[in-house]
């Protein structure tokens, strides 16, 4: 596609429910990133995928968060048993390769946990 596509654009859920956020990177981009943007914490790194290498999960805030990338393309970020502090904009980005490349960000998923 022309850009990084994320869905849904908005998600409202109840505390304790699981949510799945989807990211379609730019075709041909081997690197994929998830970041979270919230008022209190700014922009935080969550996880990074590069080709077939093991992902860098060092930014995931708890074991309720997980992500996968199927076939080196689409990625899904899953949050289990959501909490109110999970409310944020979840941004996906991709790049041609990780090294020294600028990131192309999607429009994000606004997650609201009630």
């Amino acid at each position: 596609g022309a850009g990084v596509s994320q869905s849904p654009s908005n998600k409202v859920t109840e505390k304790g429910k699981d949510v799945e956020l989807r990211c379609d990177p730019i075709s041909g981009h081997t690197a994929l990133y998830w970041y979270r943007q919230s008022l209190g914490q700014g922009l935080e790194f969550l996880i990074y995928f590069q080709g077939n290498s093991a992902p860098d999960k060092s930014g995931l805030p708890s074991d309720r968060f997980s992500a996968e990338r199927t076939g080196g393309s689409v990625s899904t970020l899953t949050i289990q048993r959501t909490q109110q502090e999970d409310s944020a904009v979840y941004l996906c980005a991709s790049s041609l390769a990780a090294t020294n490349e600028k990131l192309f960000f999607g429009s994000g998923t606004q997650l609201s946990v009630l």
């Binding site: 990133y33 590069q50 990780a98 600028k102 429009s107």
Partner: protein, 112 residues
């Protein structure tokens, strides 16, 4: 722990004026990025600075990197209203570009 600090956090300026946004970081790195974010929108890459002394310019914006001072600047020349946005710097210490640490952002408002 890497800290990235931007100054100022809020900037209101008049059209036609010049100003500089500063980005300080606490750990050695020679990779620094600038992004722009419009309200309700996602981030757009402005500059990628990959070495000490790197300078890049695009239109009314110019970014530079001093790795010894651990400082990057984003200079705005003759500001116009369309530059109103939030500007973020981000630092990579992994050497691979795999993980960026972002500053808090500078919210710029350019008034007519």
């Amino acid at each position: 722990e890497l800290k990235v600090e931007q100054n100022p956090l809020f900037l209101s300026m008049q059209e036609g004026k010049n100003y500089t946004i500063y980005c300080n970081y606490s750990t050695t790195s020679d990779r620094l990025y600038w992004y722009r974010q419009d309200p309700g929108k996602s981030l757009e890459s402005l500059f990628v600075l990959l070495s000490n002394g790197a300078v890049k310019q695009e239109g009314r914006l110019m970014a530079s990197l001093d790795t010894k001072a651990r400082l990057s600047t984003l200079h705005i020349t003759a500001a116009v209203h369309d530059l109103s946005a939030t500007y973020f710097c981000a630092v990579d210490v992994t050497g691979s570009g795999s993980r960026l640490t972002f500053g808090e952002g500078t919210q710029l408002t350019v008034n007519p």
